[in-house]
């Protein structure tokens, strides 16, 4: 049974989330503010944290930063703010994904499942997302068992997205991994390579979804 910690100052929201998640088999802990949330996280060691960004006293971003000093537990951001820069900041401080209130329970559960799926482990030199298969040993990609010719940059790009399949990856996170150490702005190059990748993967493979102002999400077909 997974343990989930809900950090939200709205009591009603906590109660509802508890009901929704308990019926899906989660064991729930609650905290009404940041400091309490950090204590609960240290004490119960939850498998996943739902963190509201608009907390009183200590902001959600601050909670996230302190949490990331000692824990890499998956964190899902709950936010009513639609301001993109706050979401991007949260994601770059180590949040795994976000949902914007009001959200449907189905969407919430899908996100939780994806971020709880253990992050990619390097024991297997292969990533599979839907019909797309990446062979990390030979730097080869194939779609429906047919090889897809990718340039080294395109391969590095699809690898980053595939490692985080189903999760949002911010533009900066992608750029840092695909062009490590580059000082110049690579956002233009990123767009160009995404464009090429989309053409090569086509409509039958997993889709590279853009979230304006935030980043990209690789969604395997039939899972969105």
């Amino acid at each position: 049974m997974s343990k989930a910690l809900i950090i939200d100052d709205e009591q009603q929201m906590r109660r509802l989330l508890r009901m929704a998640l308990e019926s899906r088999g989660y064991e729930i802990y609650e905290a009404a503010d940041g400091p309490l949330g950090l204590q609960e996280a240290a004490f119960h060691r939850p498998d996943v944290i739902l963190l509201d960004l608009g907390l009183p006293s200590m902001s959600g971003i601050e909670v996230l930063k302190r949490l990331r000093e000692w824990s890499d537990v998956p964190v899902l951001i709950l936010s009513v703010r639609d301001q993109e820069n706050v979401k991007v900041e949260a994601l770059e401080c180590g949040a795994d994904d976000y949902v914007t209130k009001p959200f449907g329970t189905a969407e919430l559960l899908a996100r939780l499942t994806v971020i709880q799926r253990r992050r990619f482990t390097r024991q297997n030199p292969e990533i599979i997302v839907g019909k797309l298969r990446l062979d990390l040993l030979h730097h080869e990609a194939s779609l429906n068992a047919e090889q897809v010719k990718l340039t080294p940059t395109e391969f590095a790009l699809i690898k980053v997205l595939a490692e985080h399949a189903g999760r949002i990856v911010t533009q900066n996170q992608i750029i840092r991994q695909v062009w490590p150490g580059q000082q110049t702005d690579q956002s233009e190059g990123l767009r160009v390579h995404i464009n090429h990748l989309r053409k090569k993967i086509g409509a039958s493979g997993p889709q590279i979804i853009n979230e304006p102002g935030i980043g990209y999400r690789l969604e395997s077909e039939g899972e969105s």
Binding site: A20, V80, T105, R191, I194
Partner: protein, 367 residues
């Protein structure tokens, strides 16, 4: 004295016409002073003229440029020698002490002219520095005030947004816990979504009007903009076939995709709301002369002629509008497009239906 005041007021930037004026005034002054001293010569002696000339040079140096002042110095030395130093009306000087006097006069006149004009220049540049500094300080102060009020405004908007959206979110989550077949739950859900749209429209209108809206252009694909515009409408758009043309061949565009998507979304929502179910909605995208144009055409009854002018006004609702709108959607679209230096227009298509055109200037790059 008109030249004097003129020279002071624009002393910072010597204009050639002004310098010419100073030259002629200088020559005139030397002439007038020599005449006066000539008349007074029997009573005062020739040394007096030298002192008068020096005084004139000092005074001229206070307001005039270097060129005219130094010319005055040279001229007065020559005039003094020629007219006043005996023997008169020759450049020849008899007594050795007069030769020394002449040389001294020349040196004193030149250095006075030089030093005083230089002093004035320095003073002026100091003054200008001071003025610039004050202007900078004032500008900084204004910017700080503006930033502070903007920050306050944003905090207020954020907290109102939080207060209004939280209950809506709670209702939404609670509804998800109810049985899906419950018809009452479906009604609450419809009403809640309507409420959410109204709240979002009001908040967005406030943002559009408050100048807090700053476009952040970045390279993007038009397909992503269309995707972002249509995805949130999926529930509503299902009844209308959506036909998109022209998007495939477009290069990368430099624009704020979030703002454009929102402007387009409102136009699409409007088209869906005002046209009979199952009629198609067409989106045609073109890029010409660095102007991106998105035309949205529906196959409804078109826009009543009397509404065309007010369509984009805040709170305007066309007669016989279906219930559920706020009259803000198109006003927001226009505000967003204008914030991006573009605009939006509406007309009736010659073959029926309404046609909205969103256009904005963009940089493009072949992918």
């Amino acid at each position: 004295m008109s030249t004097y005041t003129q020279a002071t007021s624009t002393a910072k930037k010597p204009v050639s016409a002004e310098v010419v004026g100073q030259f002629s005034w200088g020559i005139t002054l030397i002439f007038a002073l020599s005449s006066t001293c000539w008349v007074l010569l029997p009573y005062t002696g020739y040394m007096f003229a030298a002192l008068v000339f020096l005084l004139a040079i000092v005074l001229a140096g206070v307001s005039w440029n270097r060129g005219p002042v130094l010319t005055m110095a040279v001229m007065s030395a020559l005039v003094w020698n020629f007219i006043f130093i005996p023997p008169q009306f020759t450049l020849h000087i008899d007594k050795p002490q007069d030769v020394i006097m002449f040389a001294l006069f020349f040196i004193v006149a030149m250095s006075m002219g030089h030093l005083i004009t230089r002093l004035r220049k320095r003073e002026e540049s100091l003054e200008q520095h001071h003025r610039e500094r004050e202007q900078l300080l004032a500008a900084k102060h204004r910017a700080e005030l503006l930033a502070e009020s903007e920050r306050l405004h944003r905090t207020l908007l954020d907290s109102i947004s939080h207060e209004l959206k939280t209950p809506i979110a709670i209702i939404r989550t609670a509804l998800d816990g109810l049985d899906e077949g419950n018809p009452f739950a479906a009604e609450i859900d419809t009403a809640n979504r309507r409420l959410q749209r109204i709240v979002e429209n009001f908040l967005e209108m406030t943002r559009v009007e408050s100048d807090a809206l700053k476009p952040h252009p970045e390279w993007c694909e038009i397909g992503d903009v269309l995707h972002a515009a249509t995805t949130p409408l999926q529930r509503d758009i299902a009844q209308h076939p959506l036909v998109i043309t022209g998007a495939e061949s477009l290069p990368l565009l430099m624009l704020d995709s979030r703002l454009l998507a929102q402007a387009l979304r409102n136009v699409l929502y409007n088209a869906i709301l005002y046209t009979p179910a199952a009629t198609p909605v067409e989106i045609h995208v073109t890029l010409e002369n660095n102007i991106l144009q998105i035309r949205v055409r529906d196959h409804g009854h078109g826009i009543p002629l009397e509404s065309l002018d007010q369509l984009f006004d805040k709170f305007y609702r066309a007669p016989d509008s279906p219930a559920g709108g706020t009259g803000l959607g198109l006003a927001i679209s226009r505000g967003l497009m204008r914030a991006m230096k573009g605009d939006i227009e509406a007309q009736n298509h010659p073959e029926g239906g309404a046609e909205f055109t969103l256009h904005l200037p963009v940089k493009s790059r072949q992918a």
